[in-house]
Every structure is written in structure tokens, then in C-alpha cells.
């Protein structure tokens, strides 16, 4: 019973982070129809930037965590907001410099460019004067003392904050996409870029906005990921690419281009991976995810909430 609860708790935490990151993939795919391979690197950037910002901020405040100091409650949100803003800006820049010149180019070219951007971010991050090549510990901005336990399963404030923030951001996005004017514009552009443009929607601005939105969500994902594991791996570590891939798988499983699908897919992948590794074989956790992907693509290529697209002849 405890194993079950523990697995469920971990799986939901990871799943909500997958969902958060999947949103960025799904929004970009919905509009520009390509896999933004660089998205996982924005997650990395978000994680590392929040580490840098948190360290600087704490030093500026004169709080020494190692000496038993405690970060004020507002430090976390400030770090999160700053990291999101920085990554939003970077996402915007990438879109303008690398993807915008390729508007209308074959999809393969854009995909290759995205791979290029990803490699660029990864390897720049590895440089000694940027983030370096070794993992670092992130300052514990949020107490990891146990709040309460269910059976043997301990629930920390940290867990609640991670899941809570992820859920709150997703709800905010849901509101933005389905209940605001810019959201409607995004959906219109995603439905048909050309027609949306003819209807007077400023397509370029909407695309930029989508990138800013997706990148800041990715930054939040990176921040929460780092908090959750308290250690942040070096930028070119394989685990980051895997994280990105799994989030993308989540987006595909849920139905690519579908915001609610991404959330659902994220949770589904988190649960699959969590239960698979607890109850079957922990070493094969990546295999479950990719097997699920292949299965979904073969059985229902549009994903759980998506619909299949027929090519017009």
C-alpha cells in the first residue's frame, strides 16, 4: 500500500512537470508544425538560470543557507518569475533569429534548424564561463520538512509547491488559451496560419507570443525540476534530452497541438513510467515511454485527444 502511494506521489510530481514542459512542445507544434528540439534546452536554461539567480539573490540578501539561514518565502517566486522572464526573452530571440527566416520552408529544414539550436544551447551551456560541465546543488529555497504523512509516505512542503505551481501555471495557460483574445488568436493561427493572417490576426506577433509563453513555462519546469531533485545536472547531460523527449512523447500521446492533451499526456507518461519502474523493472523506464509512444502512434496517430489529419491531394 505504501509502495503504491509513494509511487503515485512520485509519478504525479514527475507527470505534472512533464505536462508543464509538454505544453511548450504542443503549442509550438500546433502553430508551426515542427518539433522544437531546443525546448528541452530552454528547460535546462531555466533550471540553471534559477540556480544562478537564487545564489546571487541569497548572497545579496546575506542569507547563508549552509550556516542554517532560511530563505524568505518570497525568494522562490521571485526566482521563478525572473527565470521565466529571461527564458521567455531567449525563446523570443531564438524564434526571431532562427525560425522566423524559415517561415514557409519545408518542415524538415525547420526541424534541422531546431536540432542546431538545441546543440548550440547545450554546448554553450557547457562552457566553463557559462554553466560548466559539472552538476550543482540548488539552494533549498523551500523547506523540505515533512508536512504530514499518509502511512509511510511523507509529504513535504516542497512536493506541494512543485505540484501546486505546475498545476497553477497550467490552469493559467488554460484560461489564457480558451478565454482571452490572444488565446483565441493563438487557436486561430494554429488552425490555419494563412487564413488567420488574412483575417487580420498579426501572425508573427502571435507566434512570438507562443514562444515566449512556451519558453517561460519551460523555465518554470526547469526550476521546479531542479527544486524537486535539489541537484541540477550539467547542460549537455543526457538526462535533459531524455526529459525533453519524454515531455514531447507526452504531448504526442495526449494529442499534439492540444493543450489539454499535453496535460493529460504528461500525467499519463509520468504514471506509466513511475509504475513501470516500481513494479516491473526500474532500468527499463525509458523503454516504457518510447514503447508507449510507438504504440499510440500506430494505434491512434492523432493521440488521445487529437484527431488524425488527412493530407489533401
Amino acid at each position: 500500500m505504501d509502495t503504491l502511494l509513494q509511487t503515485l506521489k512520485d509519478a504525479l510530481t514527475i507527470g505534472s512537470l512533464y505536462a508543464l514542459i509538454a505544453l511548450g512542445y504542443t503549442m509550438v507544434y500546433g502553430i508551426l508544425k515542427f518539433i522544437n528540439f531546443a525546448h528541452s534546452d530552454i528547460v535546462v536554461l531555466g533550471g540553471w538560470l534559477s540556480l544562478v539567480i537564487a545564489t546571487k539573490l541569497l548572497a545579496w540578501l546575506g542569507v547563508d543557507l549552509a550556516a542554517g539561514g532560511v530563505a524568505s518565502w518570497w525568494v522562490g517566486p521571485v526566482v521563478l518569475t525572473l527565470a521565466m522572464a529571461c527564458c521567455g526573452l531567449i525563446g523570443f530571440t531564438i524564434e526571431r533569429l532562427a525560425y522566423k527566416p524559415l517561415r514557409g520552408a519545408p518542415r524538415l529544414n525547420v526541424l534541422i534548424t531546431a536540432i542546431g539550436v538545441s546543440l548550440f544551447l547545450q554546448n554553450s551551456g557547457q562552457l566553463q564561463f557559462i554553466f560548466g560541465t559539472s552538476p550543482r546543488k540548488i539552494p533549498s529555497l523551500i523547506s523540505d520538512a515533512t508536512l504530514f504523512s499518509i502511512g509511510d509516505v511523507q509529504v513535504r512542503l516542497l512536493d506541494l509547491v512543485v505540484v501546486g505551481t505546475a498545476v497553477a501555471l497550467m490552469l493559467a495557460l488554460e484560461y489564457l488559451v480558451f478565454h482571452t483574445k490572444i488565446g483565441r488568436a493563438m487557436r486561430a493561427v494554429s488552425y490555419d496560419v494563412r487564413t488567420a493572417g488574412l483575417m487580420g490576426i498579426p501572425v508573427d506577433r502571435v507566434i512570438s507570443f507562443t514562444f515566449i509563453l512556451g519558453s517561460s513555462l519551460a523555465a518554470a519546469g526547469g526550476f521546479l525540476w531542479a527544486l524537486n531533485f535539489s541537484v541540477i545536472k550539467q547542460p549537455a547531460d543526457t538526462s535533459w534530452v531524455l526529459l525533453g523527449l519524454k515531455a514531447f512523447v507526452a504531448a504526442v500521446v495526449g494529442g499534439i497541438g492540444n493543450v489539454r492533451g499535453a496535460m493529460l499526456g504528461g500525467l499519463a507518461i509520468g504514471l506509466l513510467e513511475g509504475f513501470g519502474s516500481t513494479y516491473v523493472n526500474p532500468a527499463l523506464r525509458d523503454v516504457y515511454v518510447f514503447a508507449a509512444l510507438i504504440l499510440v502512434l500506430l494505434v491512434k496517430p492523432g493521440g488521445i485527444l487529437g484527431k488524425a489529419v488527412v493530407e489533401k491531394v
Binding site: 526541424l111 539550436v117 548550440f120 514503447a291
Partner: protein, 468 residues
């Protein structure tokens, strides 16, 4: 004794005569089978003897790496460039081929020769064999067999990976192939430790023996047969095969799928059949490359070799060279493999300016001389006399840029090779924006059409001269 030595020297030659005769009897043209094999043998022998004797071990190793990269890039060209199915899990095939071949020679050597040491002939081993070694040894027979077996197993897997391509297009397929590579990586990580002695092998369950390839610790004990001879013989055969494929009806069917799948199908091309074949062939050659890689001195196969980092390396080569161009992929493979070395020696790189700056000047002058493109009625479209000067300037910019980069790096004491991957990433992005078809596009170095800009330039000049 002498007879044995003569036999050892002659049997490979016998083989290259026998194989074409047999195949020729089936296929009808012995000569066309014979000359590629003969050429492969000659090139291989030349590489092994000339390069090895005139270069230090380090440079030889690099030339060997270039050879393996060429095979990999050309193999990926077949699936990504010809059929247009974007596979980004190609390293998975490399790893499968490498592990299968490695396992066969390692455990095969125990079974046949009692130990895992390589029995090098004069044509094997990067650093060559001892004085008086046989031209070709029994160990090399095993090695050759292992290479082919690795390639075939990889090809089988290629069929399996190709099957989703029947239902998936573009990026979805890309993700599936990426997932495939990752699955291969994870599965290799699960393999048990390498069995280090005859006793350990005898004690292990027979079925688990070939699978004991070291998991995440890597598999470094493979006998080191790979030499410039083997690699460049394989390069020659791969290139000839790819060329013949491209020229054949099968190759054209593949290219038509890449151009327009629906139209290809309407013209009677069995798209599913050719796609799966594309994957299988590409996987076969990647598997061969993997086998050669596994048997290279100083290499310890590891699960990481199946990962996407490696796959991306191959993609960079294919994309920079031009999707669908065999020679382009080969050139790009050589550049991408050798460039890090150049970056390490800024002095050499700085000398590039001697070529680059004149190219810029000449290109600029030619551009000024070139007329406007023909746009009048009745003129053929797509002929632009400025294309050639632009190409000259483009190459000049790249070459000069590299030397300026080297100059700056030297001035500020930066080690450029640390920035290798960043430079490649930027090259990839800039290439996609400025020349998305890559260095050669779908053309080959020897295609007349590649030089049309040159012809256009001069024919426009002549036309102008005639008018004046």
C-alpha cells in the same frame, strides 16, 4: 610451408576473382562485380601501406575515423537523403552492428583460437602487424564474417524500424527513430559483464555468452583488427553501391518518395516497399561502420554510441553535405571529422586566408561583371549568371571566416576546439537559413548540372559579348 605462405597471400585475390565469377554467372556481368572489389582491394592496400608508412599513428587514426564517418554519412544519406524519411536514431544501427560484430569476434576468437587476442595480418590492425605476419589470417576471416553479420542484424532491425514509417510521416517518424536509438541504448546497458576467460565462458549459460557485452561499463576487449585497409575497402564498396543505387530504378523510386509520396504512389511506386528497403540498406552499412568502429584500437564500445548525440553527429554531416548527395555526404563527413583537428591548430587555419581572400576578391569581381538574370520572354527560367560568383563568394566567406576566427582565437588564447560543437550548431542553423539544400543539394560532384551556374555565367558573358 612455402605453399602455405603463397596460399595465405593469394586467397583474398582468389576470392575477388571467384566471387565475381559466381555472382556474374547468376547476374550476368562478372566484370561489373569484379572491378569494385578490385578497386576496394587496391585502395585498401594503398591506404594501409602508403598512409601508414608515411604518417604517424595519430594522423592515421584520424584518417581511419574519417573513413568510418564516410560510411556512416553515406548510409544515412540512403534513408534520409534518398527516401526522405527523416531518421534520427541512426546511431542505434551503428551500435547494434558494433556490438554484434564485437561479440562474434571476441567470443568467436575464444572458441576458435582459445583467446581473444587479435591474430593480425599485414593488412589488419591500425598499427600494422609484426614482421613476417601472414597477409591475411584466420582471425581476419572471423572479423570479416562478424562485420557482415553485424550489418545484417542491423539491417533486420532497420526493417523493424522502417515499418512505422509506413504509417508515420516526417517528425513523428523522427521521434520514433530517436526512441529506437534510446531503446537500443537502454537495452545494451542491461547486458551482463564481459566474460574475461575461457573458464568464465564455460561456466556461463551458453545462450547468455554472446550477450555478455559489458552493459554500461563498455566493451573494450574486442580484438582490434580494424585497419586503414579494411575501412577504406569498405568505403569504396559503400560509395560504389550508393552510386549504383542512386542511378538505378530503385534509387529513383526512393528519390521520388522523398519528392512527393502521393505522386510516387500514383506512378506505381510501391512506397512502403522502398521505404523499408531504404531503412534496411542504410542500417546495413551503418552496422558495417559500427563493426569497423568496434574493432578499432583505443575504442571501447559503450551504450552511449547508440545515443542521439552520435546520431546528431551523422545528421550534421548529411545535412551539411546536401540531403541526397553521396559525394556531398562523404565530403561533409571528412570535414566534420577533421575540423576539430584543424581548430586545434590555429596557425594552419590562419593560412586559409591565402585562399579565402582571393576567392572573395575574384567572386566580387565576377559578380560585378555578371549581368542580370534572363527574364525576357522565351528565356529559360532559373538561369542566373550571378549564381556562380555568389557560390565563389560564399565559399570564400566560409574559408576566410575560419581563418579570422583562428586569428582571433590565437590572439585571445582561446582553444577553438572547445567550441567545435557550437560552431557546428551555428553552421547547421546558418546553412538551413542561407542554403537549405546543403553543400551539393541532391547533386553529385560529377553531375554536370552542379556546374550549371558556371555555364550560365559564361554563356551570359558570351551572349553579352555577341550582342555588343
Amino acid at each position: 610451408m612455402t605453399a602455405l605462405v603463397i596460399w595465405q597471400f593469394l586467397w583474398p585475390f582468389g576470392l575477388i576473382i571467384l566471387v565475381p565469377v559466381v555472382l556474374g554467372a547468376i547476374g550476368g556481368s562478372a566484370w561489373r562485380v569484379f572491378w569494385p572489389l578490385a578497386l576496394a582491394l587496391v585502395v585498401g592496400v594503398l591506404m594501409q601501406h602508403q598512409v601508414r608508412t608515411n604518417m604517424d599513428a595519430y594522423s592515421s587514426k584520424q584518417i581511419l575515423d574519417v573513413g568510418i564517418a564516410i560510411i556512416l554519412a553515406v548510409s544515412l544519406t540512403i534513408v534520409n537523403g534518398f527516401t526522405g524519411q527523416f531518421s534520427i536514431g541512426h546511431a542505434g544501427f551503428l551500435a547494434v552492428g558494433g556490438y554484434v560484430a564485437g561479440s562474434i569476434t571476441y567470443y568467436g576468437s575464444f572458441a576458435l583460437f582459445g583467446s581473444a587476442g587479435a591474430t593480425l595480418g599485414t593488412m589488419s590492425g591500425l598499427y600494422g602487424a609484426k614482421e613476417g605476419a601472414a597477409f591475411v589470417t584466420g582471425g581476419e576471416g572471423l572479423f570479416l564474417f562478424a562485420l557482415l553479420a553485424g550489418g545484417l542484424i542491423a539491417a533486420l532491425l532497420g526493417v523493424v524500424v522502417g515499418l512505422p514509417s509506413l504509417r508515420l510521416r516526417g517528425d513523428y517518424l523522427a521521434i520514433v527513430t530517436l526512441g529506437f536509438g534510446e531503446i537500443v541504448r537502454v537495452l545494451i546497458q542491461q547486458t551482463p559483464q564481459v566474460l574475461m576467460s575461457k573458464d568464465a565462458i564455460a561456466a556461463a549459460k551458453p545462450l547468455s555468452v554472446p550477450l555478455s557485452v559489458g552493459g554500461s561499463l563498455g566493451f573494450g576487449n574486442v580484438p582490434k583488427y580494424t585497419s586503414l585497409f579494411w575501412v577504406y575497402a569498405a568505403v569504396v564498396l559503400t560509395l560504389i553501391f550508393a552510386y549504383r543505387l542512386k542511378q538505378s530504378s530503385t534509387g529513383r523510386a526512393m528519390l521520388s518518395i522523398r519528392e512527393d509520396e502521393i505522386a510516387a504512389e500514383a506512378m506505381g511506386v510501391k512506397t512502403t516497399y522502398y521505404k523499408v528497403w531504404g531503412f534496411a540498406i542504410a542500417a546495413f552499412f551503418a552496422g558495417i561502420a559500427g563493426g569497423l568502429y568496434a574493432h578499432t584500437i583505443g575504442i571501447s564500445l559503450s551504450p552511449v554510441d547508440a545515443g542521439f548525440q552520435k546520431s546528431f553527429d551523422i545528421i550534421i554531416m548529411v545535412v551539411l553535405g546536401g540531403l541526397g548527395s553521396i559525394s556531398g555526404a562523404a565530403i561533409a563527413a571528412a570535414i566534420v571529422t577533421y575540423l576539430p583537428e584543424l581548430l586545434r591548430t590555429p596557425d594552419t587555419l590562419m593560412k586559409f586566408a591565402v585562399v579565402g581572400v582571393p576567392m572573395l576578391v575574384i567572386g566580387g569581381a565576377l559578380l560585378a561583371m555578371a549581368g542580370k538574370p534572363d527574364q525576357g520572354p522565351g528565356k529559360k527560367r532559373g538561369h542566373d549568371p550571378r549564381a556562380f560568383p555568389r557560390a565563389v563568394i560564399g565559399l570564400g566567406v566560409i574559408i576566410t571566416g575560419l581563418s579570422i576566427l583562428a586569428f582571433v582565437a590565437k590572439r585571445f588564447g582561446i582553444n577553438l576546439s572547445d567550441y567545435r560543437l557550437i560552431l557546428f550548431a551555428l553552421a547547421l542553423i546558418v546553412m538551413m537559413i542561407t542554403r537549405p539544400q546543403g553543400l551539393l543539394g541532391v547533386r553529385e560532384l560529377w553531375d554536370g548540372a552542379l556546374y550549371r551556374p558556371l555555364r550560365d555565367f559564361f554563356s551570359a558573358r558570351r551572349a553579352e559579348g555577341g550582342a555588343a
